[in-house]
């Protein structure tokens, strides 16, 4: 049972974050074979698990299903089939209290446009349990956000900041962010990423964020999940990808060669260039075939993302 109180005093703010710990909760979020269809697009079946303290990055091209997935979790869309569990319980969409445990920053941030930042925050403070106004103001200051400006006069970057301040001020268990860093200048972007890392540092809160900016994923994501055409095509730790994927150059007299885990293959005469996700097996096979192996280089997560999302073909 979680009890909420809206606090505005700084000392009390510390108490307001003392919700029940996640004892006995192994998964913060679990999606089981969820599907959602629209004319011309189908998402899933999609399964996803998010442990407490985890940052899960969601990467994929436009229209891949990232926003649909986030909206489904937030209850803005109802899945056609499948199950969504939050904090080990099935989400009851007829109720609203569970949304107090989820913060959501949409791709297009929405506010009461005629109100300034402070008024928008005060409005939300009255509706969210666990809201800390001191924390909100501190975050706004840290992000260099002018709360006196009307929402309609805020730039895209400042709207993202205001949405982030809103979402972080009641310290939800799960933060869903849809392209949170797009449109931000490099300094603010770094600040936002730092904020997210701090947010999950206690080990009981998680972040699920979608982005096109792969270096952001490389920096803060524990797990990166690639999605394309509504299906998850690969999921893993960024380090696993960058450590095991290699670009290998070798000489081999024939154009055709079958190597494991190859996602890119270029041939120029007898010089072959491949990118493989299975370095050792590929090398073993090349040695067996008598190929002359030249240099091999690690690839960045961004490069790997391109190959993964292109479908792993040459």
């Amino acid at each position: 049972m979680i009890a909420y109180t809206v606090y505005v005093d700084h000392e009390q703010c510390e108490q307001s974050t003392e919700r029940d710990s996640l004892r006995g909760v192994s998964l913060l979020l679990q999606i089981e074979a969820a599907t959602k269809s629209f004319p011309g697009f189908a998402l899933g079946p999609l399964s996803l698990e998010l442990e407490p303290g985890m940052v899960l990055g969601f990467a994929g091209p436009n229209g891949a299903g990232k926003t649909t997935t986030l909206k489904m979790i937030m209850g803005l869309l109802q899945p056609d089939s499948g199950e969504l569990h939050f904090l080990d319980s099935s989400i009851d969409r007829r109720l609203g209290a569970w949304k107090n445990e989820i913060g959501y920053v949409a791709e297009d941030q929405v506010f009461y446009e005629g109100w300034n930042g402070s008024q928008n925050l005060e409005f939300q403070a009255r509706l969210h349990g666990g809201w800390c106004m001191d924390r909100a103001e501190g975050l706004a200051k840290r992000l260099d956000l002018d709360l006196a400006k009307q929402a309609r006069n805020l730039s895209r970057g400042n709207r993202v900041k205001l949405a982030l301040v809103s979402a972080l001020s009641y310290q939800p268990r799960l933060l869903l962010l849809d392209e949170p860093t797009s449109g931000l200048d490099p300094i603010t972007r770094t600040e936002v990423l730092d904020l997210l890392l701090e947010y999950t540092s206690c080990g009981e809160r998680s972040v699920l964020f979608s982005t096109h900016i792969i270096p952001d994923l490389a920096r803060i994501a524990d797990i990166v999940t690639f999605i394309n055409d509504g299906l998850i095509i690969r999921s893993g730790a960024p380090a696993d990808i960058t450590e095991t994927w290699r670009k290998i150059r070798f000489r081999f007299p024939f154009k055709e060669i079958d190597l494991p885990g190859v996602v890119m293959h270029k041939v120029d005469g007898d010089v072959h260039l491949v990118v493989t996700s299975e370095l050792q097996e590929s090398k073993k096979k090349l040695e067996g075939l008598g190929a002359m192996i030249g240099d091999s280089h690690p690839i960045s997560l961004e490069e790997a993302a391109v190959y993964i999302l292109k479908g792993g073909t040459s």
Binding site: R93, G96, K99, A106, V110, F111, Y112, W115, L127, H128
Partner: protein, 228 residues
């Protein structure tokens, strides 16, 4: 939810002020045209303008709300939908401010009518009463249909859609008859209604009443459908 309703009312306050001012603007215009066109008989002038102004007022009451129903408004509902409130409370937060407003508006209209029962002052009071009565009936109707929808299973929605299209037509006939009766009574007491003008009036109220009802219902259905 009270906080949300307060926020909604604060957010729409200028729309409401505009709605409050509109009958008086219409009344002023009516007086202006009556003075210009003196060839018409007095009762015909009043009756024609009454019909026209009633219809205009219904539209004017609705237009500010319809303006909100743009993509901006759709997005704003997204803001509300992520707040920790139930979908039912969300839908009510959209409907109740409207009902609260029209109720206040109605009381004001009745108050004006009771206090100033002389000369032309009755004219704007009649507009207020007619239009607010219509708005209250339409608002309540859509509200109860929405609540009914919440209680019923998903498969029944299609049936309800059909009922929702047919039922208001029947009910609106009753509503417009009632409004016609009130107007007729007030009109006769002032000696200013002719039969043809009465028919025009009924037609207009009937027609614009539907606009009010269906836009209101569309908004509520939109909320329900998008955020089940």
């Amino acid at each position: 939810m009270i906080e949300l309703i307060k926020a909604e009312m604060a957010y729409r306050k200028w729309s409401y002020v505009m709605m409050m001012l509109m009958p008086f603007v219409v009344w002023a215009l009516a007086m202006f045209f009556i003075q210009i066109d003196e060839s018409l008989e007095a009762d015909a002038q009043y009756a024609a303008l009454f019909s026209l102004a009633s219809s205009l007022l219904v539209i004017c009451m609705r237009v500010p709300h319809m303006i909100h129903q743009t993509s901006v408004e759709e997005n704003r509902i997204q803001l509300l939908a992520i707040l920790p409130i139930s979908p039912r409370s969300l839908a009510m937060s959209q409907t109740l401010p409207y009902l609260i407003f029209v109720s206040l508006f109605s009381v004001l209209g009745l108050g004006v009518m009771m206090v100033m029962q002389v000369g032309n002052v009755v004219f704007p009071a009649m507009l207020l009463v007619n239009c607010t009565l219509a708005a209250i009936v339409f608002g309540l109707l859509s509200f109860f249909i929405m609540e009914l929808l919440t209680l019923l299973p998903k498969w029944s929605k299609m049936v309800l859609w059909i009922v929702c299209i047919l039922f208001p037509f029947m009910l609106l006939r009753m509503v417009s008859e009632t409004l016609f009766g009130i107007s007729s009574y007030l009109g006769q007491s002032l000696g200013m209604m002719t039969t043809s003008i009465k028919l025009v009036f009924v037609g207009l109220v009937f027609f614009f009443g539907h606009i009010v009802l269906f836009t209101r219902m569309r908004d509520d259905f939109s909320v329900r459908r998008r955020y089940p």
